[in-house]
Amino acid sequence: MTIVSEIIEMASGEAGQQGGAVSEAARQELEGLLVLMLSDCDDISGGVISASDGHAIAERLQSGLDKHRFAAMSSALLALSDNVARETHDGGVKNVLIQSDSGNVLILHAGNQRLLTVFCRANANLGMSLSHASKCAAEIAELNLNMDT
């Protein structure tokens, strides 16, 4: 099977969605950052780290949530938000905030190649959640930098 066909198979099937180009060691390190964020902040109930193109890499999620779908949706939302910010203020997006009836979801860039999706509990303190999510995103970005060099 050629590389191209493997990729198309991967693109059109649910198989092979195990996030792009990350070693198991790196994945565990990234997951460790999510664990740390969750233990530091009671307002946060889960998180997913994805590649910018919507592949899930690491997650701490309550059962029933599909990391692959959240990774893809987060990547789409963040990419569109980047466009809106660029076309209105010629600036970058710090975060995307979804305020729903039953809790907030935050999506943040975590360096150039990654993004972080954070799920907050109902009645969570937004400032507190955002602060911990931002810290985690910065740590992910730093880890990526170290992996690249």
Partner: protein, 176 residues
């Protein structure tokens, strides 16, 4: 036939040329959401669309048709539904150098079956002559076997003229 401000959806597999096609016929630079690919996908493409492409064209009668391009990968199939809502019809692009382009034709026709039933579709075969896996007749036969008769064109997705032929064909299909 349709109100000002209708929209057409471009879909199809990764690498079929959806983003290029919309850019080719747009009056203005499209809204693009391509980001760097990761993992295996990085081997075939540097970037991929993760939300949508958007632009519009002005028809000769002054009407504006909005163009929405979907991401190709199934993991973004939620965008297929979001973008198709209220659409006039589908331009389906299939790259003929895919290992199984007829399978891809089946896959996307099935995925968009409800939308196609309510509206219409034209099929554009791109990347003909690169590493051909099927002929136009093969595509027509496959459609015939499915009991569906849709226009099939060989197109260069980067050619404004070719993409306009697809769009005009779709509008003609929808008039009938």
């Amino acid at each position: 036939m349709f109100q000002n401000g209708e929209k057409i959806i471009f879909s199809g597999p990764v690498g079929a040329g959806k983003t290029s096609a919309i850019a080719a016929i747009s009056d203005e630079p499209p809204v693009r959401t391509d980001v760097a690919t990761s993992g295996n996908e990085a081997a075939i493409k540097d970037t991929t669309t993760v939300a949508m492409d958007y632009s519009y064209i002005q028809l000769e009668d002054g009407k504006r048709v909005h163009l929405y391009g979907t991401p190709g990968q199934e993991r973004f199939n939620f965008m297929w539904r979001i973008l198709s809502r209220g659409g006039l019809g589908l331009v389906l692009l299939i790259n003929n150098d895919h290992p199984d382009p007829l399978g891809q034709l089946d896959y996307y026709l099935d995925a968009f079956a409800d939308f196609i039933n309510e509206t219409g579709v034209v099929v554009g075969i791109t990347r003909m002559g690169v590493e051909d896996k099927a002929s136009i007749a093969d595509y027509q036969q496959r459609l015939f076997d499915r009991g569906q008769i849709f226009p099939v064109f060989e197109v260069d997705g980067r050619s404004s003229e070719d993409v306009r032929i697809l769009v005009n064909a779709l509008l003609a299909v929808l008039e009938n």
